[in-house]
């Protein structure tokens, strides 16, 4: 089995590293600390790679939709365009407006990025201990959502600290939007939690194990929650039709109008990191996480984290398709949609799921 092969390789590396540490006389405490650091480095590298991939995909998908080619010049089919842009942005001058609050102006993007990346630590990438996740929290899904709301603080601080009226308007819009849609998003997640009977992402994945039919997307009583999650997560990632905080044609660039260089880069990368986290959570909640569609068949040879990423990428491509097709909502329409449309739908979803669980259709139950 490919999974076991990957796991064995990782185990061999771990054992080798532990032996090496013992040989050098490093106390076991430090070994575990080093293992933690290695895990975090792994996560950050992974996130950055994923972000670069997502940005590249965005350019290619939008090019396809708009009957253009997208990046083609740097590297084969433009593959190195995004890494080159990331390098370029590091060389750019960092401009802070004279009247901006310099500390806040700096904290905003960094905070936003850190919080967006932190969400990755609880993602179960694969079965097994090491490849699974950096930390196993029994409230994983709660942590991800809490971190995702915290990112808002970075936007608010950055937008307000810029001392620009457009930035302020953008930040205010972001706060209003995120607070409204987080309610809907959490209601969707509550349904999944009721179904799985656990807040742990690993347990939610396990609840969907066995066969393709066990995935939440194919359980009819989860469909209201699925619809809710799809819409609310699009709003959460601030993409068209919900890109009101940026709204290029209205607010110039919204909360990051006054940012340049790597500070802008942090906002930009953080946004894609956040997008990816949302897609990963969507995969875990509804698409069976790392599990292959046909367990026990030849599909098992593909390692779990490949399945997880493939599913998440599929979700991301769909959000890109939506983004490049639809116009933008207006701020009042957005709020109306959230509170009058999605929140009631959330209660319906909870009711449906609750009934299904009570009738014994669902798994865990609370």
């Amino acid at each position: 089995m490919a999974n076991t092969v990957v796991k064995t390789i990782l185990d061999v590396i771990r054992v080798w590293a532990e032996n090496l540490a013992r040989h050098w006389g490093i106390p076991p405490v430090f070994v575990s600390i080093l293992a933690w650091i290695a895990a975090f480095v792994f996560v950050i590298v992974l996130v950055l790679l994923m972000v670069l991939l997502a940005v590249y995909l965005e350019r290619k998908v939008s090019g396809y939709i708009q009957s253009r080619l997208g990046p083609m010049r740097v590297g084969p089919i433009g593959l190195f365009q995004t890494p080159m842009d990331a390098l370029k942005i590091l060389t750019k001058e960092d401009i802070v407006p004279r009247d901006a609050d310099k500390i806040m102006h700096t904290i905003g993007p960094v905070f936003f990025f850190v919080v967006a990346v932190a969400g990755y630590v609880v993602i179960p990438w694969d079965r097994g201990a090491i490849a699974a996740r950096v930390v196993d929290l029994n409230i994983g899904v709660l942590l991800v959502m809490a971190l995702s709301s915290l990112g808002l603080l970075g936007i608010m601080v950055g937008g307000w600290g810029s001392n620009n009226k457009w930035s302020l308007l953008g930040a205010m819009r972001a706060v209003a939007q995120m607070i409204s849609y987080e309610v809907a998003l959490l209601l969707a997640i509550v349904c999944v939690v009721m179904q799985a009977g656990s807040l742990s992402l690993a347990a939610i994945t396990a609840d969907q194990g066995g066969s393709l039919l066990q995935w939440n997307i194919l359980r009819w009583w989860m469909w209201p929650a699925l619809l809710l999650y799809v819409i609310a997560s699009a709003a959460e990632s601030k993409r068209i039709p919900f890109d009101i905080p940026e709204a290029e044609s209205e607010l110039v660039s919204g909360y990051h109008t006054e940012y340049s260089g790597m500070k802008f880069g942090f906002f930009f990368l953080g946004e894609y990191a956040h997008l990816f986290v949302i897609a990963l959570i969507g995969t875990i909640l509804f698409l069976g996480g790392w599990q292959s569609p046909l367990p026990g068949s030849i599909a098992d040879f593909v390692p779990g984290f490949i399945w997880l990423m493939a599913k998440a990428l599929a979700i991301i491509i769909i959000t890109m398709w939506v983004r490049w097709t639809l116009p933008r909502l207006r701020v009042d329409q957005l709020m109306q949609f959230a509170w009058k449309g999605l929140v009631p739908l959330g209660f319906v979803a909870i009711l449906v799921t609750g009934l299904a669980v009570a009738l014994g259709l669902g798994g865990g139950g609370i």
Partner: protein, 372 residues
Amino acid sequence: MSETTVAGLTTEEMIVNVGPQHPSTHGVLRFVVTLDGERVNECVSHIGYLHSSLEKIAETLRYEQYITNTDRFDYLNGLGNELCYVQAVEKLLGIEPPLRTRFIRTVMAELKRISSHLVYLGCYGNDIGAVTIFLHAFRERELLMDIFEAVTGGRLLYNYLRIGGLRNDLPTGFGDQVHRFLDHFPRRLTEMTDLLTENRIFIGRTRGVGMLTAEQALSYGVTGPSLRGCGVPYDLRKLRPYAAYDQVEFDIPTFPEGDCLSRHLVRMEEMRQSLRIVRQLLDKMPDGEIQAEVPRRLRPEAGEVYERVESPRGELGCYLVSDGSDKPYRMHWRGPSFYNLQVLPEMVRGGLVADFIATLGSLDPVAPDIDR
């Protein structure tokens, strides 16, 4: 700065500059907008950033030399501006251009109208947040650009019309090229309608937004699709047919609501009507001379003339005063963008910031057309 109190909280109005550098001002335009939160309380437009003295320049140029300047103010309607100017001078001189010339001028003006409306469509999509329509509209516009290039040699600035005639006759294969476009374009137009006009979000963003009543529009001198979007069937091509518009059948689309959506629908329908006009003109295109007898030195008798045509944005007028010399004594242009923009503060008051952008885009102003 006035202060308003909402539920015991004192809030201040915020004054923001929209432009001169802003993604949605379609050129260099500036508005000082007073906001109460997201709501627009007051909007003052500041123009003059693109003033280019085109009227004053006319006093230093001979009549036939000025044609090239007309392409430059409303750059989306170059051939239409040339038509207006050339007709004004012809009226002053009492010259009647040959029938074939009139036909060709009309075909080019109508193709230019489609191309201008395509730019509007793309930019308006961008204003509303639908980015893709921009590239789709510009892809179709490229076919028109190829036609203009084949006929005039230029893509943006043509210098094609002459007083009493044209610079050159149509190239061989022109009919086929235009027919290919006429056959291909309606399908694309339907596709673009599906993509943008029939989108629920788009309708939600434009219906009932930027309301303009017919009385307001008439009292401010609003013309063109913006006026026809208030239900007033005012179109110079029909009311006072010039060039070859008396030879063709077409309708004037009007929508009575006076909101952004009806202005948008007028333009979408006008593209279809323009296709109709071009098709008829191509079928009836007469042979013959393209240049009337014109004296070598143009010295109109002292007097004045006002000539107007229907540009894609509304009534484009050219006022010429002659003192008997070979240069105009005074020239004035009535630019539709200038008159249409005057009514903007009335339309956006009380709306949201997003409505302001949607309304501005729906007036389809071209910045150099506002001040010259």
